[in-house]
Symmetry: C2
Subunit: 336 residues, 2 copies
């Protein structure tokens, strides 16, 4: 299942049983419709009527983005969404039931935070220079910490988010010790203030788009999250939730790889008063790395060999299944 | 706030600050973007990149339909949906809470059924020949009937749907006595078997599309209905719920008007083995009538003078407000 990223100006059209993209310099490329997971449009792209009907009939979601230096990297404009073939009301009802039940909600949120911690360790444990950080994260027992700090169920999610924010502080510090040249210094967003931050923001945006797309394939309601508040403005809280366990192992590893292998070059960036942004070539480099990481097949203990994209999808289905069957949700952990 | 219906083959493009539609015979028409409520595309229509970006930026939803004689009239393919600016998780949570609470759910469902009954009376009371039917509907006390028939809360929604189905039987019988030429005989769908049924199906489809569009403007979850089951296949149960009170006064009145004024002509239909369908001219006639009815301003007691489209929108907002503020939902009634 391919993801199609369109970064150039051009047109998507249909010819016989395929989609094609033609850019403004008349370069054509085929988009084999049967194998498409999603199309991400990040520039000015026209769609012909036959292309639209084919895309909708085949159930392929198309997500539109636009660059805006005030917000950083690019922002989500909207989606062309095929009609859902199966009903989703049932799952939405179970999802809200789990959200309302503070114990169930906390259990899901804690599971996500613990998976983040576990995956953070997998990223940094091979670097001897940050051994202390690895040790700190290993010794941190998310559920025990929660039990100690939580005195009133009313504060449960605040306590969990406090624990989460704490592990990110530890992890970002370790990350800066690992990065050889460009450093994060501190995490900046909207817009990112330096090169490392802009790469991380762009990778995260690709990850969020991927997770949103996988959620649209399930019957989950993207607006109702467990770790993140469904009351947050303009963001899909469940997308944020389900992206979290993958952030260290996808986005942060892309950052380490691109910087420490010397792949990142000054000419991949454009700077303005607002902050630092990737240009089209810079974006291509990050997308290439992102794609190769979500395509890469990995053998996970007890889960077999699958691509990371499939593990992302499976995590969303696992949540749906856990909600409908009222069983425990297991977030993704990089267990070799 | 205009609705744009595109029935011809063509292209939507942007020029300066407007959208334009050009058909295959090069006829142009302007689509003033600022005043658009929604765009309904019912044929093969291309969208240029600038048109897509403008549509998404202005927050205008575009709904795609395709004709299929097996299903009848046309069917919904999907939508181009702008990103929601405000969060919706909060409302989804309140909506499911009301759904789970069988008393609240029944209260909303009964309110809808009673509004259908009330509006049915408004349609038929001026026809002396169906006086008995009007009387029957007037004497029917939906809430009392519910209290009498309901013995176990588990069966509450089944009992309510039984009452609803009963009033439709009465109403369709009356409708057939009012119709001068083409008759329903019995209500047939997927596909409709005769002219009257195909007009009614097409009007209802326009009404559902309008209600779906208004629901997308609120934060309501279209999949969680109260009278209709959220478990139903491939249909938005809340859209069905909120369209119900308007069906007698919009769709059924269109049917009476078009037939009894002799506007309907045999050449507006195409027949095949499956059933009877409207052709493009026939559809234009129904859309014209539909549009003039939802544009028409009406003075409703205590609600002022507004167009029917605004009353449809207000009904959706009323439900959202009632759910969030935990007050009683009032469905639309045609009270002069």
């Amino acid at each position: 299942m391919k993801n199609i990223y369109i970064l150039s100006i051009g047109k998507v059209y249909r010819k016989s049983n395929n989609l094609y993209f033609i850019d403004k310099d008349k370069n054509k490329r085929v988009i084999p419709i049967e194998g498409i997971n999603a199309i991400y449009i990040m520039n000015k792209v026209s769609l012909t009527s036959n292309a639209i009907q084919m895309i909708l009939n085949k159930g392929v979601p198309v997500h539109f983005f636009k660059e805006d230096s005030k917000i950083g990297t690019f922002y989500y404009l909207g989606s062309l969404l095929p009609k859902q073939k199966k009903p989703s009301g049932k799952v939405h009802i179970e999802q809200v039931k789990a959200y309302i039940n503070v114990e169930k909600r906390s259990e899901i949120a804690l599971e996500i935070v613990d998976a983040i911690r576990y995956n953070m360790i997998k990223v940094i444990e091979k670097y001897r220079e940050v051994y202390d950080y690895t040790k700190t994260l290993r010794n941190l027992d998310v559920r025990k910490e929660f039990e100690q700090k939580m005195t009133d169920w009313k504060d449960a999610t605040n306590v969990i988010r406090g624990i989460e924010s704490n592990i990110w502080v530890i992890f970002y510090e370790a990350l800066d010790k690992i990065l050889k040249t460009y450093k994060l210094e501190r995490r900046t967003r909207r817009p990112p203030k330096n090169e490392a931050n802009t790469i991380l923001s762009f990778s995260n945006a690709l990850l969020y788009a991927t997770v949103l797309n996988e959620i649209y394939k399930t019957h989950l309601d993207p607006t109702v999250g467990f770790l993140h508040e469904p009351y947050e403005k303009g963001r899909f809280s469940l997308v944020l939730d389900l992206a979290e366990p993958f952030k260290p192992i996808i986005s942060c590893r892309i950052l380490i790889w691109l910087i420490n292998q010397g792949i990142v070059k000054p000419e991949y960036f454009k700077k303005d008063l607002m902050g630092v942004m990737l240009n089209e070539n810079g974006k291509r480099v990050v997308i290439k790395e992102f794609e190769s990481r979500i395509r890469e097949t990995i053998k996970i203990k007890g889960k077999g060999r699958k691509s990371m994209l499939i593990f992302i999808r499976k995590q969303a289905y696992n949540l749906e299944k856990a909600l409908v069957e009222d069983t425990k949700f297991k977030a993704f952990r990089l267990v070799y």
